[in-house]
């Protein structure tokens, strides 16, 4: 052991490298660690490890971490910690540590490297299995380490075997179905700051094991009596362990116990030089077999035994530290007060059942051991050691959780220290009729703090049982959820941070957009330019300018992100007829058609334009966000319903770059870009496709319009995308060529009443609801969704239908999502009937005012009806209109 210096609450101390911060502070005589969360009561360290309820600290050195139990912080040179009064604070500096992940498939995962876990590891290793042993402590051996005893070498040697991997400081956080576990390995916090720059701080392990052995051991738990929370009151195993290692600020101890552990700890305290004034045992008798090691053993040391009694109250000195303990026989008024600065509490063992309950294994109550245990063995999971109820001679504990309390005592008898929840709080839950631990938990907040009820869970179950005269297992069962202890988000993220957290998809023209200063909009994983501001222009001004340019001159948009699926095979036309609501098999080669696809429930699922490239070759476009979903959908029908159709689908989204030039001057621009192409309406009609050289590059040009304007979509191999874009910009310079982004695209299409799947729809709209009955084939015998259109609910009157909305105040843009109510004006008294909601809403350059699209009950029959839109600060009035605002006659698309 070497000595290291550390800082706690601004004061310098020294301790032994590798001991816990809690141990080091006790070594320095610090008993009052912090105050309690809500009641400001002085608190000291209670436990040994993650069961610690009081001594939470914020770590400010190294990577920093809030709310760590001081019992789990290994002391290193330069450690800086602050006490946390139930609330942590995140460090405000960036965490530059590395975090990573690893996967492992093994035959056997052993959780816990105590003697039981090591024995299990040996057994499976002997059988030639690959074994991984994970243990959350710095050293193997479990309780033997605390007891200062050496671990049998034949067990320790197992960890060195070739088929055994041992990971210390590794907490199995979750156990899931099929032998899957997630663990976090703390790799650097215990090292000096200057040696570990290249190593990840925490590694998250994903383990798949054919079999998992749970050898998780047990915590000790407390008893509920008046003033059971003072500094100086500790779990007996913790107190004896600290004191035996020389971290001993105590002079006189009282030990209170329900089992034989209290005796063993009394002896350890005595041997370490603490005067043990009394062992107070709730049990009148102990078994003959254990008498020698318990009662006779302390008698030999001259330690006084008080049988059939317990602690009922404690007193403190002016500093709030324990200075005496009141002992009582629970059944009589006889009381005695004993001076002591340490009260070591052995309230029984609580096996660590968490991982077992994660996979639905229910712990059973053992009255003999006063504990919930898990004895389990199946092909995937087995338990061993204390978890399985193997307690040694502690299996004669008395089922006892605390003495009867007066009303005043109940106010200061703590069930859950971290939540400052008292017996009084608990009793109020019982008196209000709560019987289940889940109800009591929610009524009192017991078990909801940082420790998630590691010690208070069983205590609460026991108290409920005690209060209503039932055994703890008749109350219910303990249920825990992962993670076992808190995990920094950084550990779960691993290296998937920043750009690596989710792939970013960009088009070949992306760099141009970025250079032009366009802010980006996220569409799925795609980055799309939102609008292209000129200097000093805000979004509103930019969008109005872009839209006006498209309707008056010519605009250009990067449409490369549209999902594109190449569909080939002799039955492709037949297949598309089944997928789309309208007819495709009759489409002529070289033509495109807009299509709508529905689910079997008849609800609109996706839309897009599909082009017949040749007899048996089609190119489908999907919404930008829907491409993967649509491809899965096509494959599902082809593979599981219609395998007789010869159709092959391939995603080609990334292969093709699409530049759309849009507006009355697009014909002039198109002829400049492709001099060989006859761009007249007669030879290149709407929805037609032509192959030609554009700016020296072979291209497929489609006359498709998503704005109602004359438009050409230039499709080229992706690598030519930027070249085409730049050519468009230079050739169109004198035509006021105006790049526009997704916002203007949305405004332009909404002016024409074109829907966006996902904006006008939410999976509950039929084509008819969208006023698109024209796209539903009446000729086709069947297509996906057809039968559902005549279902009673889809055919009924009163469904929400797509309409336009004009606010009476044309300068007001109604927020999207706003509710519409029937009735003419703001003065209609409540209750008012909600009849629909706004799906799209913009200011329009073409209209010189605002407009909106909405879904309104029976809306198609209500055009002209006045509506009101209640907003937080005012009631806006308006009128229901047709959903097409610009060029109802479709005169503009041909230029």
């Amino acid at each position: 052991m070497s000595t290291v210096n550390f800082t706690f609450d601004g004061k310098q101390y020294s301790g032994e490298k590798g001991e816990s911060l809690a141990s080091a502070l006790l070594r320095n005589g610090v008993l009052h660690f912090t105050d309690s969360s809500y009641k400001d009561r002085p608190r000291g360290v209670m436990g040994l490890w993650v069961e610690e309820t009081n001594a939470l600290v914020n770590i400010d050195s190294g990577a920093g971490e809030p709310m760590k139990p001081a019992t789990t912080v290994e002391l290193v040179e330069g450690l800086v910690a602050r006490s946390a009064q139930g609330v942590g604070d995140l460090p405000d500096t960036r965490d530059n540590s590395r975090y990573d992940k690893a996967n492992r498939h093994v035959d056997v995962l052993v959780v816990g490297a105590g003697t039981s876990g090591l024995a299990a590891a040996k057994k499976f290793s002997d059988q030639g299995k690959s074994v991984i042993v994970m243990d959350d402590k710095p050293a193997a051996g479990g309780h033997l380490v605390y007891l200062g005893q050496s671990v049998p070498t034949e067990l320790l040697a197992v960890l060195e075997r070739e088929n055994v991997t041992y990971l210390p400081r590794t907490t199995v956080q979750g156990l899931y179905d099929q032998g899957f576990s997630v663990a976090t390995e703390r790799r650097t916090d215990h090292l000096d700051a200057n040696v570990h720059t290249e190593m990840s701080r925490i590694r998250t392990w994903h383990i798949r094991a054919e079999h998992t052995v749970l050898a998780t051991g047990a915590f000790q738990r407390h008893l509920v009596f008046a003033n059971n929370d003072r500094p100086g009151i500790m779990l007996s195993h913790a107190a004896a362990t600290y004191v035996s290692s020389g971290a001993n600020p105590f002079r006189t101890a009282v030990v209170v116990t329900i089992d034989n552990q209290g005796y063993r700890d009394a002896i350890r305290l005595h041997n370490a030089g603490v005067y043990v004034a009394a062992v107070v045992d709730i049990r009148k008798k102990v078994s003959k077999s254990s008498k020698k090691s318990s009662r006779k053993a302390i008698k030999k040391l001259g330690i006084r035994l008080i049988k059939g009694a317990t602690v009922i109250d404690t007193q403190a000195n002016l500093d709030g530290l324990l200075n005496s303990v009141t002992i009582g026989d629970a059944k009589s008024d006889l009381q005695e007060t004993i001076k002591a600065d340490l009260l070591a509490v052995s309230g029984g063992w609580t096996p660590i059942v968490h991982l077992a309950t994660f996979i639905g294994i229910k712990p059973t109550w053992s009255a003999k051991r006063a504990a919930f245990i898990v004895k389990h063995k199946d092909s995937l999971t087995s338990t061993t050691g204390m978890l399985a109820g193997e307690f040694g001679d502690d299996d004669e504990a008395e089922v006892f959780f605390g003495p009867k309390l007066s009303t005043d005592q109940a106010l200061v008898a703590f069930v859950d220290y971290q939540r400052d929840a008292t017996y009084r709080d608990f009793k109020r839950a019982i008196d209000a009729g709560m019987r289940s631990i889940e109800h009591v938990k929610r009524y009192t907040a017991i078990g909801t703090a940082h420790d998630q009820g590691k010690t208070s869970g069983t205590v609460t179950m026991g108290l409920i049982g005690q209060a209503i005269g039932k055994a703890p297992d008749e109350i219910g069962s303990l249920t825990f959820r992962p993670p076992y202890i808190s995990i920094p988000f950084a550990a779960l993220a691993g290296r998937d941070r920043g750009l690596l957290s989710d792939p970013e998809r960009t088009t070949p023209i992306h760099a141009w957009h970025v250079a032009s200063g366009a802010p980006m909009e996220d569409v799925g994983q795609w980055k799309r330019p939102w609008y292209f501001p000129k200097s000093g222009e805000n979004m509103h001004a930019a969008v109005l300018r872009e839209c006006a340019a498209v309707r008056q001159d010519v605009g250009v948009m990067d449409a490369s992100t549209l999902g594109k699926i190449d569909i080939q095979g002799k039955d492709a036309g037949q297949f598309l007829d089944l997928i789309y609501t309208n007819m495709f098999s009759t489409l002529k080669v070289g033509m495109s058609r807009y299509g709508l696809m529905c689910g079997i429930d008849g609800m609109v699922f996706d839309d897009g334009v599909t082009t017949r490239i040749s007899e048996n070759h089609w190119l489908m476009t999907t919404t930008t966000g829907g491409a993967a979903k649509v491809l899965d959908w096509l494959e599902e029908w082809l593979q599981t319903e219609w395998p007789h159709l010869e159709v092959y689908c391939t995603s080609v989204t990334e292969e093709i770059s699409t530049v759309a030039i849009v507006g009355p001057k697009s014909r002039e621009l198109m002829s400049r870009l492709a001099p060989s192409l006859d761009v007249t309406n007669e030879s290149f009609a709407f929805m037609e496709n032509k192959h030609a050289e554009v700016a020296g590059v072979p291209a497929r040009i489609a006359r498709i319009s998503f704005s109602g304007e004359l438009a050409y979509e230039i499709n080229v191999p992706a690598s030519y995308g930027l070249h085409i874009w730049e050519s468009v910009m230079s050739k169109g310079a004198d035509l006021n060529i105006t790049p526009y982004g997704t916002e203007s695209m949305h405004v332009l299409r909404a002016e024409k009443g074109f829907v966006i799947v996902g904006q006008e729809t939410d999976g509950t709209q039929t084509p008819q609801d969208l006023d698109m009955d024209w796209i539903v084939s009446k000729k086709k015998e069947d297509f996906i969704g057809k039968r559902s259109f005549s279902r009673a609910d889809t055919a009924r009157q009163g469904r929400h239908q797509l309409v336009g909305i004009l606010a009476d105040d044309g300068s007001y843009v109604i927020p999207e999502g706003a509710y519409l109510v029937a009735g003419a004006d703001a003065n209609t008294p409540p209750p008012v009937k909600h009849i629909g909601y706004i799906t799209s809403s913009y200011d329009s350059a073409a209209l010189g005012r605002s407009f909106a699209l909405a879904l309104v009950a029976n809306g198609l029959a209500r055009k002209g009806e006045k509506i009101a839109i209640p907003m937080a600060d005012r009631v806006v009035t308006g009128v229901i209109t047709d959903s097409v605002f610009v060029d109802k006659e479709n005169t503009r698309r041909d230029g």
Binding site: E635, E636, T640, D782
Partner: protein, 93 residues
């Protein structure tokens, strides 16, 4: 995370797959002749058993193929997986 046996690729992590609901619910050939009740049964009603269930999954991030597999809805154990239109193995129960 489930470990799902793709009949083409072998066992892989759940994140590579998408779920496709109950297997062997065939699309009716004569949908136009079905009553509303019969059609609703096809669209909305699934057996949702407690225990072994034959399901469809697609290996989206792998071979992109749909397949059927037995899964126990109580403990998420997987039984045999099999290709569409092949002989269904017996329920593991």
């Amino acid at each position: 995370m489930l470990h799902i046996p793709c009949p083409y690729c072998g066992p892989r992590d759940e994140t590579e797959f998408h779920y496709g609901s109950e297997a062997h619910v065939a699309y009716p050939e004569n949908s136009g002749n079905l009553t509303d009740e019969e059609w609703a049964k096809f669209v909305f009603i699934r057996s949702n058993p407690k225990g072994w269930m034959a399901e469809r999954w697609v290996h989206s991030a792998g071979c992109r193929r749909w397949f059927n597999v037995w899964r126990n809805t109580i403990n998420h154990q997987f039984g045999p997986s099999y290709k569409p239109f092949s002989q269904q193995p017996k329920s593991p129960a």
